[in-house]
């Protein structure tokens, strides 16, 4: 999948990956690739500034932790982030229902 088409959804994808867990940057990238079966192809370096922006927005909280023997910055969802994720999910379901209804192949 092209990076340009992902950029608009990157925030929601990052929030979804962090739902209910605390992860460091590379683990977030791995989780994105795993959940998409490797279809999400974007420069991994763009993820880190996006995480910082989501933190500034109040959706994520971060801290330096020692994970697997190395110091890593880990991120988790805040309460605002959980609300934003729920709103993104509802919006996405409505969007796919509408578009799916039209593109879904019915000729009625």
């Amino acid at each position: 999948m092209k990076a340009d088409s992902l950029r608009g959804h990157l925030d929601a994808l990052l929030l979804a990956v962090l739902d209910g867990r605390k992860l460091h940057g590379y683990a977030i990238i791995e989780a994105l690739q795993l959940r998409s079966d490797g279809a999400l192809d974007l420069p991994t370096g763009t993820v880190y500034p996006a995480l910082r922006r989501l933190e500034r927005a109040g959706y994520l909280a971060s801290e330096w932790d020692v994970v697997s023997g190395r110091k890593r910055r880990t991120y988790k969802l805040t309460r605002s982030g959980q609300k934003a994720l729920a709103a993104e999910r509802t919006e996405w379901q409505e969007f796919t229902a509408v578009i799916g209804g039209v593109l879904g192949g019915s000729t009625a």
């Binding site: 420069p43 991994t44 880190y48 500034p49």
Partner: protein
């Protein structure tokens, strides 16, 4: 030099901003690159090739540095806004406290224009941290909707307005008092010291806010 070190050196040279924030961003990038290289190593690739692939996955340095620089510039501006939010009210408070110990009674009553000038300066000084708070709120809310220029513009504009408001207040305090009677500037040692501190603080804020125009262009 390893591929990761070379790449990080390239990123570093393309970024300008507060040293600590820059080191923090680069440390996280290094961690991510090492993790990626480790993952390739675990697949049986040799170390040099693992690092080369990790760097390639991270993205072209010029493209990535643009995102990092935007983040760094915002952090710098937000830090200056916080300095202003804390510093100006503290100086106002300290000035009010210090004024109580001065022997103002031996000076004549100032004319009405002087009261008006000081009243205007008081309003501007109080407005300055309020504008800075509005800038921080705008940064938070805009960061939820968009990335890049709109957030940087909002922060830069509020920074310029807040720093400008404080600067005009300081110039008005000093200018009006100097015009009325220069000796008043030195009638109280604590007040004179605080005035000096405020002038230096304002100069520091003005220099720190010099990025205005670059980020709004």
């Amino acid at each position: 030099m390893s591929a990761i070190d070379g790449y990080l050196g390239d990123l570093d040279s393309r970024m300008i901003g507060p040293a600590r924030a820059k080191a923090d961003l680069l440390a996280e990038a290094r961690g991510g690159l090492i993790d990626a290289a480790d993952a390739y190593l675990a697949c049986g690739v040799d170390e040099a090739e693992a690092e080369r692939r990790a760097v390639a996955d991270f993205g072209p340095a010029d493209l990535i540095a643009r995102d990092y620089q935007a983040e760094l510039g915002l952090r710098r501006d937000i830090r200056v806004l916080w300095e202003l939010i804390v510093g100006v009210p503290l100086l106002l408070l300290a000035w009010d406290l210090a004024r109580g110990f001065a022997e103002w009674s031996r000076l004549g009553a100032p004319p009405s224009w002087y009261h008006r000038a000081i009243g205007t300066a008081d309003t501007l000084a109080a407005l300055s941290p309020a504008v800075a708070v509005a800038g921080l709120l705008a940064a938070r809310l805009l960061s939820r909707r968009t990335a890049g220029p709109p957030v940087a513009r909002a922060v830069s504009w509020s920074l310029a307005a807040a720093v400008g408001s404080n600067l005009v207040a300081v110039v008005t305090y000093g200018g009006a008092t100097g015009l009325l009677e220069p000796a008043r500037l030195l009638v109280s040692v604590p007040c004179a010291v605080l005035s000096g501190v405020w002038i230096l603080f304002s100069m520091r804020l003005t220099i720190a806010a010099r990025s205005f125009g670059r980020t709004t262009a």
